[in-house]
Symmetry: C2
Subunit: 117 residues, 2 copies
């Protein structure tokens, strides 16, 4: 039997909107925080600026929360920074996701590993 690994995807939804926050948007926020701009963040993650921008908008719209502060113009062209609210979300989601990841690994060991050996 081939070796298997457990994989998962995690996200949050409202009644109306599926995927208002999840792994992708979490990575995006982290990258924005590290890079200082949406453009640099999208390039770092190798996703299109168009998608990064849309994802961010979707999250902020659905959650009604200002996750980032965006500035246009200026000598640097502009910049995007993560708000304190946004940072709270990053931290909370990081712990959330970490717990789930551990649980997936544990559950795999407990229920699947024996089956596959």
């Amino acid at each position: 039997m081939k070796k298997l690994r457990a994989r998962f995807k995690l996200w949050l939804s409202t009644k109306d909107v599926e995927g208002v926050f999840g792994d992708g948007k979490w990575r995006l926020l982290k990258s924005i925080d590290a890079e200082g701009s949406l453009k640099a963040a999208s390039e770092s993650l190798r996703i299109s600026y168009r998608k990064a921008w849309g994802d961010l908008k979707k999250a902020e719209d659905a959650l009604s929360i200002a996750l980032v502060e965006k500035q246009r113009g200026g000598n640097m062209g502009g910049r995007t920074t993560v708000t304190s609210q946004g940072k709270k979300w990053v931290k909370a989601y990081t712990r959330f996701r970490g717990d789930v990841e551990k649980a997936v690994e544990k559950a795999y060991e407990k229920h699947i590993k024996e089956l596959v050996k």
Copy 2:
């Protein structure tokens, strides 16, 4: 703040093949077991027969396991039943997924709920 719910997707992969078994194929096997045929199962799950058939083939090929026994012809046209191996997989995956689901819920309560209130 809108009410949120945590959602997840879970699956197993080999080094070569992504998604050799997961929520969809698990549901399919359960449905086959309940319905007695691949056709009825696919209709019950409201996915195309074409996809159900392909999914099953993909899982069996990648795992090198006979999850079901298929019979063509006969007065009923044919039927598909889940093998004992397949049932083992269903049971194990059910427990696996159940544990993960509980963990997701727990982690949500612990890390996200406060944030959203």
